[in-house]
Amino acid sequence: MASPKRTPASSDKDVADPKKRDFIVVATYAMAGLGVAAVGWPLINQMNPAADTLALASTEVDVSKIAEGQAITITWRGKPVFIRHRTSDEIARANAVDGSNLRDPEEDEARVQRPEMLVVLGVCTHLGCVPLGQKTSEVKGDYEGWFCPCHGSHYDTSGRIRKGPAPTNLEVPPYTFLSDTIIRIG
């Protein structure tokens, strides 16, 4: 029933200049592709953090109440931040190892602004659990720092990864000492 005979415009062979035809086809696809991308981007980008989420990105904390050997946990960007007032023993232990030999090589002094005040994100760099070790009653792991119960990562008194699946040290967030007792995180 359907006749195989085509109208001249429907076959490349019948076109005077097939290259011109190819160009038009490619240009049409390209324009359509650009259009889809331009409309698609806002639909995808809406999932990235919104302006108000970004605006909440700093927290101030008074550290004068933390006794030596104690630690507090505060919230920054919805995540726990560990602030530990380290004892001289803990500082000495953090400096006793050669940082360049560790899994994520880093010296203790590169991780602190004032050696007695260690500030790290309380987020295991493996898959994001909160490591134990903040309270004196909690297990601190083989290196006396923190221990992540989820898959068994051990961190030392500088928050560096020493054993277990986590790839990197506990992250040090950006922070500044506004005075001797007030820290602004973020």
Partner: protein, 417 residues
């Protein structure tokens, strides 16, 4: 012409303009089906029923649920205590999710045993694996919605898997969260996607059925139907058999819902989410445990994540790993032994996924993980070449008829080869 099949004039009028009745007739009535299907072939229809139950209970749950970190947990408790029959609807949704996975796992192992993934059913199999992936994503996001401790920490650990991707990992995780941790934006999008994905699954199920009907069901002896003597019409023979399966399924589901509604859940999920404290022992839902065991078997973060995803991806290429022309394990004595070893291996992985990742459990996880991949990547390709298979019957009817040779009337029907 097709409209003449229907005696009802209204049906005929509609079908002439919109051939839905012909389509249904072709799919579930007239459809010639191998006559030797066993109960393993019930699980496809049960999976479909499970999807319907999930969608119906889910839509009514959504009428009472609030997707906000401050209200989600309480709204679920309100469903449990105050909403009329809310407890029933939620317990059905929770337990039917587990049953859905039980059914689909049996359905998958059925395919593995009887070689249903082999030509010409490769795409049918691949669509099935796609459904399985979508189901896992849906169930994962659903489990986040009640916003208990397991919801929160499950979401944290699973989304963090993507941080293992080199360079862009962190940005991807921030993108998934819509913030800097699992928080309100995450809960909102998970609810939106949890509502959407079952309908995507329904779409892929339609494709799955279209692909199925192209060549029809495989069967326990794995040879093609050679003609009408090997098949019976779907209705009433298999509709009634499927109905029997449905009755058993619903009985078991009701048993779980009414007597052990929380047996397959985790008590920690009745503690509201606390982003400052991880529970001492976090485990995913039981149906993810084998994959969780594989993740933890590897001491390297990226390696663990890659291996876990590979455990599913390997199913996509299975039709090309097992090149043996014989489908059914009934005629493959060595394959059959390895099939059962794989089955035990998967159960063992599930057991290990629930145990803490230390000591002997780590060693065993590594052995069972290695075996899982060896089965697909080494043993199956080798078996395709070296296994001596048993002779196949000439047709689906032959083994039945030769066993009952007194039934001479039917025995006259020679296979049309």
């Amino acid at each position: 012409m097709s409209a003449e099949k229907f005696s009802n004039p209204v049906v005929r009028w509609i079908d002439h303009r919109l051939p839905v009745f012909s389509m249904l007739d072709h799919t579930a009535n007239d459809y010639p089906t191998p006559k030797n299907l066993n109960y393993m072939w019930n699980f496809g229809s049960l999976a479909g029923l499970s999807l319907v139950i999930m969608i119906v209970t889910g839509i009514v749950l959504a009428m009472n649920y609030t997707a906000h970190v401050d209200h989600a947990f309480e709204s679920v408790e309100r469903i449990m205590r105050d909403v009329n029959h809310g407890w029933l609807i939620r317990y059905i949704h929770m337990n039917a999710a587990s049953f859905f996975f039980i059914v689909v796992y049996i359905h998958i192992f059925r395919g593995l045993y009887y070689g249903s993934y082999k030509a010409p059913r490769e795409l049918l199999w691949i669509l099935g694996v796609v459904i399985f992936l979508l189901m896992m994503a849906t169930a994962f996001m659903g489990y986040v919605l009640p916003w208990g401790q397991m919801s929160f920490w499950g979401a944290t650990v699973i989304t963090n898997l993507f941080s293992a991707i080199p360079f862009v990992g962190e940005s991807i995780v921030t993108f998934l969260w819509g913030g800097f941790s699992v928080d309100n934006p995450t809960l909102n999008r998970f609810f939106s996607l949890h509502y959407l994905m079952p309908f995507l699954i329904a779409g892929v199920v339609v494709l799955h059925i279209v692909a199925l009907h192209r060549f029809g069901s495989n069967n326990p002896i794995g040879i093609d139907a050679k003609g009408p003597q090997d098949t019976i019409s779907f209705h009433p023979y298999y509709t009634i058999k499927d109905m029997f399966g449905v009755a058993v399924f619903l009985l078991l589901l009701a048993g779980a819902v009414f007597f052990f509604p929380n047996a397959m859940g985790h008590p920690d999920n009745y503690i509201p989410a606390n982003p400052m404290q991880t529970p001492a022992h976090i485990v995913p839902e039981w149906y993810f445990l084998p994959f969780y065991a594989i993740l933890r078997a590897v001491p390297d973060k990226l390696g663990g994540v890659l291996l876990m995803f590979s455990a599913i991806l390997v199913l996509f290429i299975l039709p090309w790993l097992d090149r043996s022309p014989i489908r059914s394990a009934r005629f493959r004595p060595v394959f059959r032994i390895f099939f059962w070893l794989l089955f035990v291996d998967c159960i063992a992985l599930g057991y290990l996924g629930a145990k803490p990742a230390e000591g002997i459990y780590v060693v065993l996880s590594r052995v069972t993980t290695a075996w899982y991949f060896m089965h697909f990547l080494i043993i199956l390709p080798l078996l395709s070449v070296f296994e001596t298979t048993k002779p196949l019957p000439k047709s689906i009817s032959e083994p039945v008829l030769s066993a009952r040779s007194h039934n001479t009337g039917v025995g006259q029907m020679a296979p049309a080869e």
